[in-house]
């Protein structure tokens, strides 16, 4: 980004766009495409990332006049990105077929180690990461869209309840309840899986 480009604030670009200069929006895309893509990539399937990210910018363009606070474009855009991912999962889950794939023995082994206190061992081999990704997908596809987003944002990404409530546009109480239920469901899933496949029981 050049010095001149940096000097132009997001707000003045937004003003230009609202005054009818559509091409000025291109600069906002240049500035934030990496940021939006990184958010969407964390919450959506790899093959859908670009499509959702494009929708995020189009939604942002359509609602530019709704930005209330000056200087808040980036956080406003991140909320649109997270909500677009949530909408994607809601639509996807409505039409999805129930996943029948089961964990392989390697993946079960990874999950066993991950829930035990020996979690340091799980990164010993590089190929373990592949199993971790598959286990992550296996777990998340068994949650609904809201539970998935809450688990990802609160427990995996480490956002606070307040931040998540702003990102998803929910009340703090709703985030807390959803997070609690999602965590319980995840725990139940792992326990059921453990009982079924003879995974090591969590040490008490």
């Amino acid at each position: 980004m050049s010095v001149l480009e940096k000097a132009i604030s997001d707000d003045s670009i937004i003003k230009q766009v609202l005054d009818g200069n559509i091409n000025a929006f291109e600069e906002l895309i240049t500035r934030y495409q990496g940021y939006v893509l990184s958010i969407v990539a964390k919450h959506a399937q790899a093959e859908k990332v670009e499509e959702i990210a494009q929708e995020v910018f189009i939604l942002a363009y359509k609602s530019l006049n709704k930005i209330k606070k000056a200087g808040s474009f980036k956080s406003w855009l991140s909320a649109i990105a997270v909500r677009s991912c949530y909408d994607y999962w809601r639509k996807h889950y409505r039409s999805r077929e129930i996943p029948i794939s089961e964990l392989s023995s390697k993946q079960k082994d990874w999950l066993d180690k991950a829930i035990s206190d020996r979690s340091d061992e799980i990164w010993e081999k590089e190929d373990r990461q592949k199993e971790a990704k598959q286990v992550l997908d296996w777990l998340l596809t068994r949650l609904n869209a809201a539970e998935r987003m809450v688990i990802e944002l609160v427990y995996i990404e480490g956002f606070s309840v307040e931040e998540v409530s702003k990102l998803l546009g929910w009340s703090s109480a709703k985030v807390k309840v959803r997070a609690f239920r999602a965590r319980q469901k995840l725990q139940r899933l792992i326990k059921e899986k453990g009982n079924k496949d003879g995974l090591q029981k969590p040490q008490s």
Partner: protein, 106 residues
């Protein structure tokens, strides 16, 4: 319970590492152009649709007045008796004889 949470936290910690890797996505070179093309398309559509949108808004604004007019006309139609020119002519000529189209025209 504390142990269970601890175990689940271990899992989240491990999954966090997988998750962090996901964010390394480079935008496609066509990404920006694709978005701008769609936005320009939206603008053209909105110009084209502006007339129809205005008409639609006008239709809804005029809907109460139209409904009122329909009610008044219906009331008028039910309460006023309409007599055709033909019947007027029959009345003038005492209405005793049949008048054909030829007589009427001449």
């Amino acid at each position: 319970m504390g142990s269970k949470n601890h175990n689940l936290n271990n899992l989240f910690k491990a999954l966090h590492a997988v998750y962090s890797e996901k964010e390394n996505v480079q935008p496609d070179i066509h990404f920006k152009n694709d978005v701008m093309r769609q936005i320009r398309g939206l603008e053209q559509q909105s110009h084209r649709g502006a007339f129809f949108q205005m008409m639609e808004q006008l239709t809804w604004k005029l809907a109460p007045a139209t409904a009122l007019m329909i009610l008044i006309c219906s009331y008028a139609l039910m309460n006023f008796e309409f007599i055709s020119d033909w019947q007027v002519l029959q009345l003038i000529t005492n209405g005793t004889e049949e008048i054909g189209l030829f007589e009427f025209l001449t």
